[in-house]
């Protein structure tokens, strides 16, 4: 990592000695987490991102929620929740749900894997810098865990009128949420750029 850095939140000039894996450095002045390097961070990031992607695929394939009332019932998958909202004439609501619970987390995962996998071989994919910038910008807009709480609240909210049932996809989405959160705890801004700095492009142009 760079020797001389500045705190992201208070601009204090700092000199970094060598950062060992498994350290968490706080700004001595404002307490901001300057860097947090986990043990085996790259391996774990890749492992958690891969399993998150698998669970996400699983979560898209099966019923997410269903409900029953006097013998009549309905069932939706994750993607249908977006298309249902659109078909009922609520395009903005449908777009918000699509971005926060599907597009942002999915882009985050695909982007992470695109940038991180070649780093294992000490290489850098073309466009890695642009993708990394995008990743850091998307991160706050992925609201997977907020959505899960929303699902649980809606179960209770409608409980007096009908009973909602959680489908297999819901549990896959829970697993996806845990894996994504675990992956992101190993994503450290300074470390990511340090990895990119030390990796070489696939082919060096003579």
């Amino acid at each position: 990592m760079d020797k001389i850095i500045a705190c992201h939140e208070c601009d204090l000039l700092l000199e970094l000695s060598e950062v060992k894996p498994g350290t968490k450095l706080l700004c001595p002045r404002c307490g901001y987490v300057i860097t947090r390097t986990g043990h085996q961070a790259l391996n774990r990031l890749i492992a958690f991102s891969l399993s998150a992607t698998l669970f996400f695929a699983y979560a898209c394939a099966f019923p997410f929620l269903s409900f029953n009332l006097q013998g009549r019932g309905q069932l939706i998958t994750l993607l249908q929740s977006v298309s249902e909202l659109y078909q009922q004439g609520h395009p903005v609501l449908s777009l918000m749900v699509a971005i926060f619970i599907i597009l942002a987390p999915l882009l985050l995962l695909v982007g992470l894997l695109y940038v991180l996998l070649p780093l294992k071989a000490g290489r850098r994919n073309p466009g890695s810098i642009v993708v990394s910038k995008l990743l850091l910008a998307i991160q706050p807009w992925s609201m997977v865990e907020v959505f899960l709480i929303g699902v649980l609240v809606s179960l209770i909210k409608i409980a007096t009128m009908a009973s909602l049932l959680l489908g297999p996809s819901f549990w896959a989405y829970v697993a996806f949420s845990i894996m994504l959160t675990a992956a992101l705890t190993y994503l450290d801004r300074l470390q990511l750029w340090h990895w990119l700095d030390s990796a070489k492009p696939w082919r060096t142009v003579q």
């Binding site: 001389i4 208070c10 009549r72 009922q88 910038k133 959505f147 709480i149 929303g150 909602l164």
Partner: protein, 209 residues
């Protein structure tokens, strides 16, 4: 207005910290040499943007609370709820923990965010020097909890997408759902546009702008 940067800050040495990749570069460069993001000592017009977004958020907060967020049609009769009405209903049904969660996420957090960010902006403009560490922490907290306000919007989205049985039982979103979603997005943008490093800058005797 030229702030007098704290002597321990990177800005005082003419070094700009890249927002995206954290590389320090000479501030006369316009783009970060590593990631090509625009480079500046402080986020340009940070306070103006934050104030504008806060004002928009505060205005949207009014319809978000006055208008119904959810309309439930059951066997010909329809009932609609505002956000606070929904919390009261959950409380009456005895779902106290859920009522408290929704109350905190939908009422307290957005209001607290608006007030805290407005106070931080005005504290910077008044050259408030006391307790910079605590103010920075408060800022960090508003950034951290902001997204949790989306819970209610997701509840509406889930119920509307799923519960459609015609006359038997059907759920429609109210106008407040969009307004409230807007409040959450706009206050998140406001928190992002505020530059906490301004808290640590000193202004000498000059007045800002």
């Amino acid at each position: 207005m030229t702030p007098v940067y704290d002597p321990h800050s990177a800005a005082a040495q003419g070094l700009a910290n890249c927002h995206t990749c954290g590389k320090l570069s000479a501030s006369h460069l316009h783009h970060c040499p590593r990631c090509h993001s625009p480079l500046h000592l402080r986020i340009p017009h940070s306070l103006q943007y934050t104030w504008a977004l806060l004002l928009t958020g505060a205005l949207l907060y009014i319809p978000a609370n006055i208008l119904p967020v959810l309309q439930i049609n059951q066997l010909g009769s329809s009932s609609s709820n505002t956000i606070l009405g929904g919390v009261a209903l959950l409380w009456e049904q005895g779902s106290y923990p859920v009522a408290i969660v929704i109350f905190i996420a939908s009422v307290i957090i957005p209001l607290a965010k608006l007030f805290v960010l407005a106070w931080l902006c005005s504290s910077v403009q008044r050259h408030h020097q006391a307790r910079p560490r605590e103010r920075t922490r408060l800022y960090r907290l508003t950034e951290l909890v902001g997204r949790w306000s989306m819970i209610d919007v997701f509840v509406v989205a889930i119920l509307v997408a799923l519960v459609q049985l015609g006359n038997l039982l059907a759920v429609q979103p109210g106008a407040a759902a969009l307004a409230f979603g807007g409040v959450v997005i706009i206050t998140m943008l406001a928190a992002m546009s505020f530059d906490p490093r301004l808290i640590w800058d000193k202004y000498g005797n000059q007045h800002p702008q």
